[in-house]
């Protein structure tokens, strides 16, 4: 060893003693590392196999409970009728004040039938679609308003300006729908008449509309002013009376 240190072998690319001292100085942590050996061949423990087998069974049970690919049968019950839970009285839906109950119905009809032209703020666009906010026909006599909704309108509107043609909306509209939409528009978007157009009034409006001489055609301003400037027949409803929000029948306070 000592001879080698005095006369390092010129064929060797590395001076052993120099390299070794540099290793212990600069790479001590690397030098003391151990080599990785990976080829252990210990047998797999029986307990591990048993535990994995139990878990496989559990997982199989979960998959089995999953049923078919798109089996909605267990989350969606066809023909489901709302019933009271066991041991509880069926209280039904919570009653609402009449105005709010009618307006909630009307909001749905508005977004389905009116929103497209008159807009979500009911201001129309000023040229082809008139505003409903502050309109004399909306806020005024209810029969005139009902006739426009049910039959549509051609020619000039309440301001005297002619906008586009309003198509009839009455097809398939129930008295409940008509009462809701009228109450909603008359009490929303800045309008605040404060009264409720009841389903009885709406029923009367639908009858009046069917009995028109020119039934099936759109109404005009002239026809409205001639025969429809009156309130719809029917008993007025206190806007604060409590109603069942689904059926709109009178309800008792809970």
């Amino acid at each position: 060893m000592s001879k080698q240190n005095e006369n390092p072998d010129l064929d060797e690319s590395i001076n052993v003693s120099e390299a070794h001292s540099s290793v212990v100085r600069e790479a001590a942590a690397c030098a003391r590392e151990k080599r990785i050996v990976e080829n252990g061949i210990a047998p797999v423990s029986l307990w591990a196999v048993v535990a994995c087998g139990v878990v496989l069974l559990i997982a199989g049970g979960i998959l089995g409970a999953g049923g078919n690919l798109f089996a909605y049968g267990s989350t969606y019950r066809e023909g489901y009728v709302r019933t009271a839970p066991p041991g509880m009285a069926d209280t039904g839906p919570v009653p609402k004040e009449a105005l709010a109950a009618y307006m909630a119905k009307g909001a749905k009809i508005y977004s389905a039938k009116c929103n497209g032209c008159h807009g979500s703020d009911a201001k129309g666009n000023g040229s082809t679609f008139p505003t409903l906010v502050g309109s004399k026909w909306v806020l005024g006599e209810t029969e005139r308003f009902a006739m426009v909704i049910l039959n549509g309108l051609q020619g000039p509107a309440s301001t005297g300006n002619t906008y586009g043609v309003m198509p009839p909306q009455g097809i398939g509209m129930t008295p409940e729908d008509l009462a809701g939409i009228m109450t909603y528009v008359r009490n929303n978007f800045g309008n605040s008449v404060g009264d409720v157009v009841t389903t009885d009034m709406a029923k009367a409006a639908i009858e009046t509309s069917a009995a028109r001489k020119s039934a099936g055609n759109m109404v005009t301003a002239a026809e409205l002013e001639a025969g429809h400037v009156k309130a719809l027949a029917g008993e007025a409803l206190d806007p604060k009376a409590l109603l069942d929000p689904i059926t709109l029948a009178p309800a008792k306070a809970p």
Partner: protein
């Protein structure tokens, strides 16, 4: 002992030292900034946890409301700490295993800064109220391409090293690392494209989000941590890996099962009915790949009890693998659709499970790797055994409390939620004591990690001990053993480098 042998092992040590030197700056950058983000995340976690039981705490500041602090906490934990710790460990271990020096340290460092910038801007975005509201993807939409780009710029060099490596054999850790490096971009691109670029039905978007969360845990953090543990266990003990065939079973079953997990969180939601059940079954089945890997690593480490007692890397790594065992058992117990899943679906159990995975399992293994890697890349030994012990004990107590409380408190909370005849308040009342304990436990973890960060920062400044003796958890049996801070008598003594590895 022949001189030829000495020369080979010296050359070998010099090669390893060269690899370490080539990666010093990127590795230390990732580990240190990761540790800093970890501390930030824990502070945010304490704030979020305190708001669960004391809602009026800091309620006046909109930047610190629960809806912003909680996502900031979890995103800082994942992208600030988790990914950066993974980057530091991945690039170092891939270089070591491929036996190639890194030639792109500058590029990696630059990409690491871009990653940090992305995380910082994303967190500011969340706190300013621009979070997306998608769990674990709350960063505003600008952040994900930045993170993806820097991810690729950081890790592509490890692929290149792997391609040009001298030997043909592929070690177990390399399987896991390569898989993790490919799996993460897959789930990240899939989830972000489907949620940000091609938004579909919001219910299904929720399902994709749940799948992404599960994927980050089981397709990135888990393989990275297992690869690291498979590196550390035989390296530190010098014993062969317990069973090679068990390792193969563990890897391939993970690859087959993990991508299916996640959608069980949408049990009862109107998505295709089998998806939640497949998710639950896959999460339960993850028991098989993870318990086999844990068993293999534990048996390998246990074969050398002396090293186990002395080595900080091994102690942290074993604690992490123990966390993995708890995690997989909890995965089975909490995901039974008929009984426990409805209780844990919307309660704090989910959070407990995630924290157990990220901190109790992944982070502990990363700490083990940090204690192994840093002395090599800085060529300084850890300063203080006491700091290591503080880090270990407070972390263990903290994570045990956070995870177990969130798991079982979550069950209590779930029972309260399911009892629909009681007001919602009763579920909150059931969860209250657990929420208080969680805050206290996070304070323990913060305490432990402030010491960890300081210790690491001192090492980064190269203020570690200059010694050829490692800092071990128990004093070596010689006359130097009196000092609690290790072998200070050996400072720069260039003594024989034959102490056991740590």
């Amino acid at each position: 002992m022949s001189s030829a042998n000495t020369t080979t092992s010296d050359q070998d040590a010099l090669l390893r030292a060269g690899i370490d030197r080539s990666l010093r700056h990127p590795v230390m950058f990732f580990l240190t900034s990761g540790a800093a983000w970890l501390a930030v995340s824990i502070v945010l976690g304490i704030l979020a946890s305190a708001k669960v039981h004391s809602p009026e705490f800091l309620a006046g500041c909109s930047w610190l409301t629960y809806g912003r602090v909680f996502p900031a906490h979890i995103n800082a934990l994942i992208y600030g700490w988790g990914f950066q710790a993974a980057f530091g460990v991945l690039i170092w271990m891939m270089a070591r295993l491929s036996r190639k020096e890194c030639t792109a340290a500058g590029m990696i460092l630059a990409a690491g800064h871009i990653w940090n910038l992305g995380v910082s801007l994303g967190l500011v975005g969340i706190l300013a109220g621009f979070g997306t509201g998608m769990p674990w993807m709350e960063f505003p939409a600008f952040a994900w391409p930045v993170l993806l780009f820097s991810y690729i710029a950081i890790l592509v060099w490890s692929f290149i090293q792997f391609r040009v490596r001298p030997a043909g054999h592929v070690y177990i850790s390399q399987w896991y690392f390569l898989a993790a490096m490919i799996w993460f971009p897959w789930i990240y691109i899939t989830a972000n494209t489907l949620l940000h670029c091609l938004p579909g039905h919001p219910v299904m978007a929720n399902g994709i989000n749940a799948w992404f969360k599960s994927g980050v845990i089981f397709l990135f953090f888990t393989p990275v941590a297992l690869g690291t543990a498979y590196y550390l266990a035989p390296k530190v003990t010098g014993q062969p890996v317990h069973s090679y065939s068990l390792a193969r079973v563990g890897f391939w079953s993970l690859a087959l099962i993990a991508p299916w997990a996640g959608m069980q969180k949408l049990l009862g939601a109107p998505i295709p009915y089998f998806l939640p059940y497949v998710g639950a079954a896959a999460t339960v089945l993850l028991f098989v790949p993870l318990i086999t890997a844990a068993l293999n690593i534990l048996r390998t480490s246990m074969s050398s009890p002396e090293t186990l007692a002395a080595s900080p890397s091994l102690r942290f790594m074993i604690a992490g693998i123990t966390g993995l065992v708890v995690l997989v058992v909890a995965g089975v117990v909490l995901n039974l659709p008929g009984s426990t899943l409805p209780l844990t679906q919307f309660s704090m159990s989910g959070y407990g499970f995630e924290i157990l995975a990220i901190y109790g399992f992944f982070s502990f293994v990363m700490f083990g790797a940090v204690y192994f890697i840093v002395p090599r890349v800085t060529r300084r030994e850890w300063l203080s055994r006491r700091l290591m012990k503080i880090h270990f004990l407070f972390s263990v107590y903290g994570i045990l409390t956070v995870a177990l409380i969130a798991l079982f408190g979550g069950l209590q909370q779930g029972i309260g939620q399911e009892d629909w005849q009681q007001p919602w308040q009763s579920a909150a009342t059931r969860a209250y004591p657990y929420a208080v304990a969680t805050t206290i436990a996070w304070c323990f973890i913060l305490f432990s990690n402030i010491f960890f960060f300081l210790h690491l920062a001192l090492m980064w400044l190269r203020l570690g001990r200059r010694s050829s003796h490692p800092t071990l958890l128990v004093a070596a049996h010689d006359h130097h053993s009196a000092s609690p801070h290790g072998e200070e008598g050996d400072i720069d003594n260039a003594g024989p480098g034959h102490m056991p590895a740590h």
